[in-house]
Amino acid sequence: MASVNYALKEISCKIVYYGPGMCGKTTNLQYIHQHTMSDKRGNMVSLATPGERTLFFDFLPLEASRIHGFRTKFQLYTVPGQVMYNSTRKLVLRGVDGLIFVCDSQWEKMRENFDSFRNLMDNLSSYGYNLETAPYVVQYNKRDLPNIAPVEYLQYVINPRQVPSFEGIAIRGEGVFEALNAICSLVLANLSEKQKTGVA
């Protein structure tokens, strides 16, 4: 549900970080918040439990470079990863323009990654969206931990279509901006494509 305001020369897009609980979605957003110029971002809104688990969602408005004279604004959201908050996840997905699926690379989280990805597809379908039409990239997070699955297997389970994917250590910022830049570029390119073909 990207909006293009020709009067203000402004484009606004919604990016959602999706993934299982504790995979590092909020950490991604926190790193972005800490490492972007303060005049190019808004306040990060976060509603978490005392145990630092996302209760509702996190939100970070961000402004990127001008593209063809248009100010590009991105609204970054995370979803609560815990299984019980599916209705919130579904709500956050509404009007999404692009997704970053964050995987937890640890062996014991493999099934949760898989379930979360299936859950993403189910939730998208409730709005009539699907991953054929919604751009997404995959981030394999926590690559610094000892008990991690090889990227080949993560790719096999989560990303057999081989969309752009990134290894990440969100807490150190590795792979964070790479994934964000990739999805933002894809979203804008798709927006442009849709307008050319008159879908918009």
């Binding site: 609204q75 062996w107 409730s126 009539g128």
Partner: protein, 316 residues
């Protein structure tokens, strides 16, 4: 305001009505009278004031209309109780005219009785009183913030001159079909692989995943060197779902004889229906090189957009 009128609420209203009527009648029928009397307008005024306070106490967000409705409703209930008491009084006394019983039931003491019971009778109905709308200028809660509205798909900047929506609006229906299509999209992406061979797994690790009631104390004596072979053809189809699981009965077949003695004979149904999850961390490193090979990339159409202009975020 939640509508929480239940059968219990209705029952409590009936009980309070009957009790109020009977008590009011009893008090009205008493010989002793209060020495002080208040004029009727003063009594109505006092009642309306207390009713108004009660309505507000029950529901602080009640609208003006709802508040007046509440006062009117309470007054009607109070009148009904008094009238009921007067009718019962007339019937028990055998009075031909209602004037006397009504006068007696409207005295201060029975009236107070009816007044108190009218609060009890009306209390469950408070949930139906209309509440006032949120004022535009009041402090917004988190759930009403722009972030939440945006998440819920509200139009941000709807007062702009021109907004073009890219992508489809949420559609009702068609969800299941789309979900199936999305799921099969992933399934199609994996090519079927047939391979001969087996994966060697430590017996102790596998037994640790078995239902405890199926494992006896001999399992503790099995050393780490004991291995079991699981055929690749049984494992490969499950790999794409990030879980390799088999029934205890199936595992029993693959266990070496020495380890099989560590299992007790369990319920046949449970052995077929329960599942034993095998450790992926042990399986995946032993897979042949081509087991995880994916077909040529088949990214969705949105990935083939030609030149993409890179987005630059100003970082510190």
């Amino acid at each position: 305001m939640p509508r929480e009128f239940t059968a219990i609420s209705a029952l409590s209203m009936v009980i309070a009505s009957v009790a109020g009527t009977v008590l009011c009648m009893q008090v009205a029928n008493m010989e002793a009278r209060l020495e002080w009397e208040l004029s009727t307008p003063v009594l109505w005024g006092l009642e309306a004031a207390v009713f108004g306070t009660a309505v507000y106490a029950w529901c602080s967000r009640v609208s003006l209309g709802g508040w007046m409705l509440g006062i009117a409703g309470l007054s009607l209930v109070r009148l009904a109780l008094t009238t009921g008491a007067a009718l019962v009084l007339a019937a028990t006394r055998g009075d031909e005219h209602l004037f006397g019983p009504i006068r007696d039931a409207s005295a201060v003491a029975p009236r107070m009785c009816a007044f108190l019971f009218s609060l009890m009778v009306f209390y469950p109905l408070r949930t139906f009183l209309p509440v006032r709308r949120a004022r535009a200028g009041r402090r917004r809660t988190f759930s009403e913030s722009a972030a939440v509205k945006s998440a819920l798909g509200a139009v941000v900047g709807s007062d702009s001159d021109l907004v073009i929506w890219a992508g489809s609006e949420p559609r009702a229906g068609g969800g299941e079909k789309s979900a199936r299509a999305a799921t099969s999209m992933l399934d199609r992406a994996h090519r079927p692989v047939r391979m001969e061979g087996a994966i060697e797994l430590p017996v102790r690790l596998v037994l640790a995943q078995m239902p405890p009631e199926l494992v006896n104390e001999r399992a503790e004596k099995i050393s780490d060197s004991h291995m079991m072979s699981v055929p690749l053809e049984a494992i490969l189809p499950q790999l794409k779902e990030a879980r390799v699981a088999f029934s205890p009965a199936q595992i029993r077949e693959w266990l070496p004889d020495s380890a099989r003695r560590a299992l007790t004979q369990g319920d046949a149904d449970a052995e077929e229906t329960e599942s034993v999850i095998l450790p992926l961390a042990q399986i995946v490193p032993q897979l042949p090189q081509d087991a995880l090979a994916l077909p040529a990339p088949s990214p969705p159409a949105w990935a083939n957009v030609g030149d993409t202009e890179s987005v630059v975020f100003a970082t510190v």
